[in-house]
């Protein structure tokens, strides 16, 4: 590998006194060396999906009519929520389905890649103190940020070319391949820029990548709301960097100019990052760390209280995000349902099969969507718990008069209550906004119920994570597969023609879609019992195993 060969040390140390970029070249090599596995894995991992869709879609949908079915599903509000503005899906080709239906996931993946890449080589380095070592040598003030951004730029350009090449390699139409690839790369650049800014703000890498992640979430919500209002996107959509790439209309009516917005945005954000980084000390943030209480609050005295304290910030964050999302998605119910008037038959099937009750169909779909989001909270919560163990913070707690049962059980209780509370909160938010939007107060209760009904299914997902934590702690993350499967079956199951038993594998499939269906209590009771059994087994497993210590 060329990155392994090093120039003699003096080459990078040639005196350019006062130059803030001194050492950038050396640091670029260093970053490439450190990421020699990670970066190619991200790039190839994203690219391989072009081959996957290019090979799978023609198999799945052999006639243009089949393809129309899938593309019809992604029209209207659900399509706008999950995919984008939906250009070219009235007359779909394999290429336009890849771009219009699955393209958004390329955009999300590349945004995530850039957020992690930039945070990893800037704020993480500072937080761990490694940046101090680097900056103490002949390295300019802006070298680290510049090297990181140059690598990000190269990675995004490379990814654009790889995706275009993959479209050609998968025997697809190449007319707009480069435009699609460039669209993906442009989102990457935009979020590299955003992260270059957020890493200046806080001292903590997780807060920095969290801020950039929140920006990505906001971009998603704005885009989805904008796209739901009008097919093809409304003015609101254009406030989101994700929309700029989607608005290139690749494979429909390709145009390059929206990408200029992405590049301009990335440059502006990065410039702001440089400006801020010049005004702060190494290791410091712009926002100083706050001081806290010298003593613990009186209630902080039990394992449950500790679990709550550790999840409090996360609960507040999720709660506010879900309420905001609920208000947006509920508030636009009226225009969405109005747009359903001439919905294709298959879409009606997905939304419950009753064209006279499309609003109820929308409400039940939002219930599933929000349940999946709360599922993300649940799994992240158990992974936090695993982090507590591997980072050595559980050891001093279990060395007190706290039983493993109380510690683990208390924490699971906090997560379970948190999940139910979040469902209630987002249900109420969407319900209230929907009721105002359509002028029917009954939807407050209906929508809340359509969310709360998912609680037992989420408890099963929590219990699966608990079971893994008890017996195979390093595999706790495998719970993501259950949630991902539930999402695919939940949204795309109706058009995938799978046997019923495959549907039954997902806990989310056993939940009545309220208010469309009648509430079936039996599955909810069964799910709750299963959850209790799995969680109990997980607890028993944890009581028997060694603690993972540092």
């Amino acid at each position: 590998m060329t990155t392994l060969t090093r120039e003699p040390a003096h080459a990078t140390a040639t005196p350019a006194r006062g130059n803030p970029l001194t050492g950038t070249r050396g640091l670029i090599r260093f970053i490439l060396r450190r990421d020699r596995i990670k970066l190619p894995a991200w790039l190839l991992g994203i690219t391989i999906f072009v081959f996957y869709y290019g090979a799978a879609l023609p198999q799945l949908y052999q006639t243009p009519d089949d393809l129309r079915v899938v593309s019809q599903f992604t029209e209207g509000a659900v399509g706008a929520l999950l995919s984008g503005p939906g250009y070219g899906l009235d007359n779909p080709t394999i290429e336009s389905v890849i771009v219009g239906v699955y393209g958004l996931y390329f955009l999300l993946a590349v945004a995530l890649m850039n957020i992690l890449l930039v945070a990893r080589h800037t704020r993480v380095e500072e937080q761990t103190g490694r940046a101090e070592l680097v900056r103490a040598s002949v390295v300019g003030r802006h070298a680290q940020l510049s090297a990181t951004l140059i690598v990000a730029l190269a990675a995004n350009v490379g990814l654009s070319l790889l995706i275009a090449g993959a479209m050609a390699g998968a025997d697809l139409d190449t007319s707009d391949a480069l435009l699609f690839g460039a669209g993906v790369g442009a989102v990457g650049l935009a979020f590299a820029g955003v992260t270059a800014l957020t890493v200046q703000v806080t001292e903590y890498s997780r807060a920095a990548s969290g801020l950039a992640g929140a920006a990505l979430g906001a971009a998603y919500v704005i885009r989805a709301a904008g796209d739901m209002i009008t097919e093809g996107g409304s003015a609101l959509s254009w406030f989101s960097p994700l929309a700029w790439s989607q608005q290139t209309r690749a494979y429909v009516d390709g145009r390059w100019w929206p990408l200029a917005l992405s590049v301009g945005f990335a440059a502006a954000a990065a410039a702001a990052g440089y400006l801020l980084s010049g005004r702060r000390d190494v290791g410091a943030g712009l926002v100083a760390a706050r001081r806290g209480h010298p003593e613990a609050a009186p209630w902080l005295r039990t394992p449950v209280a500790l679990g709550f304290r550790l999840q409090r910030a996360s609960l507040i964050g999720w709660g506010s995000a879900l309420v905001a999302l609920g208000a947006v998605y509920g508030g636009i119910t009226k225009p969405i349902v109005d747009s359903y008037e001439d919905l294709p038959e298959e879409m009606v099937d997905v939304l419950g099969g009753d064209p006279t009750r499309m609003l109820d169909g929308y409400v039940s779909t939002m219930g599933l969507f929000d349940a999946i989001l709360v599922g993300v909270f649940v799994i992240l919560g158990v992974q936090t718990l695993r982090g507590e163990e591997t980072r050595g913070r559980v050891e001093p707690v279990l060395a007190t008069a706290t039983s493993r049962w109380a510690w683990f059980g208390g924490y699971l209780g906090v997560l379970a209550a948190g999940a139910v509370g979040l469902l209630l909160l987002v249900g109420l938010a969407i319900g209230t906004a929907t009721a105002i939007s359509v002028g029917d107060a009954g939807y407050v209760l209906d929508t809340t119920a359509s969310h709360l009904v998912y609680a037992p299914a989420l408890l099963v997902i929590l219990a699966i994570a608990a079971l893994l934590f008890g017996f195979l702690p390093s595999a706790t993350g495998a719970t993501w597969a259950v949630l991902g499967f539930g999402m695919i079956i939940g949204f795309f199951g109706p058009i995938m023609d799978l046997p019923q038993w495959v549907h039954n594998l997902s806990p989310l499939e056993h939940v009545s879609r309220l208010p469309l269906d009648d509430l079936a209590w039996t599955p909810l009771v069964v799910l709750t019992v299963i959850a209790a059994g799995l969680a109990g087994a997980g607890l028993a497993g944890f009581r028997r195993r060694d603690l993972d210590t540092k």
Partner: protein, 313 residues
């Protein structure tokens, strides 16, 4: 005296690694027991087994009359623990962490908490993620020592503390000792154990290789003598138990085994002693005796390798 800690034939394996290989350790109630060994010898593993965080693969362990795995919760009310590498919750302040850990154990002595925070010069208002290693260590020390626990398990507690704080720590441990508490103090900082410990166990490769009071151990080892004599000291090399003799210019220096010290000093006095210094064996020397073969092996190995390389070329 009753034993606060007693293990016999304790074995703990991780896969094919035998972290503890038949460990026998006895700590009497009321004593400060130094637990010495290099990194990776099994000190932390032993303490974690005693805390019921790890389950022994075989062998017996008795802690305060109970089984550390089965009776963990009941036993933990009576003990406090300081880990060697303290991790704090990033968004809890040091003060909150101290109170939380104390309360989870069943309460802590507020007056002592305040005194310790003051003595260790700890700012309890800072968030966990902003503490340096030494300050994280202080948080764990205050949380443990502010309790009324009868047994303290301290795993390299002062790693990262500055010398001033080290002195405060020794002072506090002596206070604990005066109150009759039992302390198991693991360390590779030998001077610290030397100052505090009544008894010492040396652990190596998962086994206790030697255990006893410092005096007993010193008796087993050599004292170094340096003297100026009026006439050149001769014939000392023929005395039993004398090693590493260096003589010349009216000065003599040698090491002598504990049981032959009397004879050597008597012999030396015949040559007219003008000045005499003697060094008791330091714990470094005690340790070196137990790890000496290892060090020698490593040293010889390295030398042998380079020699081989030379031969090959």
């Amino acid at each position: 005296m009753t034993a606060a800690i007693a293990t016999s034939g304790l074995v703990k394996t991780f896969g094919s690694t035998r972290a503890l290989d038949g460990l026998d350790l006895t700590v009497q109630a009321g004593e400060v027991h130094g637990f010495l060994g290099p990194n990776g010898a099994g000190k932390s593993t032993t303490i974690r087994v005693l805390l019921g965080l790890l389950r022994a693969s075989s062998g017996r362990a008795n802690l305060l009359g109970g089984d550390p795995w089965r009776d963990a919760v009941a036993l933990h009310r009576r003990l406090a623990y300081v880990p060697g590498d303290v991790e704090l919750w990033p968004n809890l302040t040091g003060g909150e962490a101290i109170d939380l850990l104390g309360r989870l154990r069943g309460g802590l002595n507020q007056a002592r908490r305040a005194e310790l925070v003051e003595r260790f010069d700890l700012d309890p208002r800072k968030k966990g993620r902003t503490y340096s290693k030494g300050n994280r260590q202080k948080v764990a020390i205050v949380a443990a020592l502010a309790s009324d626990a009868e047994l303290l398990l301290l795993d390299e507690p002062t790693a990262g503390l500055d010398p001033l704080m080290e002195v405060v720590f020794q002072d506090v441990i002596n206070q604990m000792k005066a109150e009759g508490r039992t302390v198991l103090l693991s360390s590779h900082i030998l001077a610290q154990v030397e100052k505090l410990a009544d008894k010492i166990s040396i652990i190596r490769l998962g086994k206790v290789v030697q255990s006893g009071t410092l005096t007993e151990m010193r008796h087993l080892t050599r004292t170094t003598i340096e003297a100026d004599t009026t006439s050149p000291a001769t014939g000392l090399d023929r005395l039993p138990g004398v090693h590493n003799l260096e003589a010349g210019d009216g000065r003599v220096r040698f090491a002598v085994d504990g049981q032959h010290l009397d004879g050597a000093v008597k012999a030396l006095s015949q040559f007219g002693i003008r000045s005499l210094t003697s060094h008791p064996p330091t714990l470094e020397e005690l340790m070196l005796r137990h790890y000496g073969d290892e060090l020698a092996a490593a040293g010889n190995g390295a030398a042998g390798d380079s020699k081989d390389d030379g031969d090959n070329r």
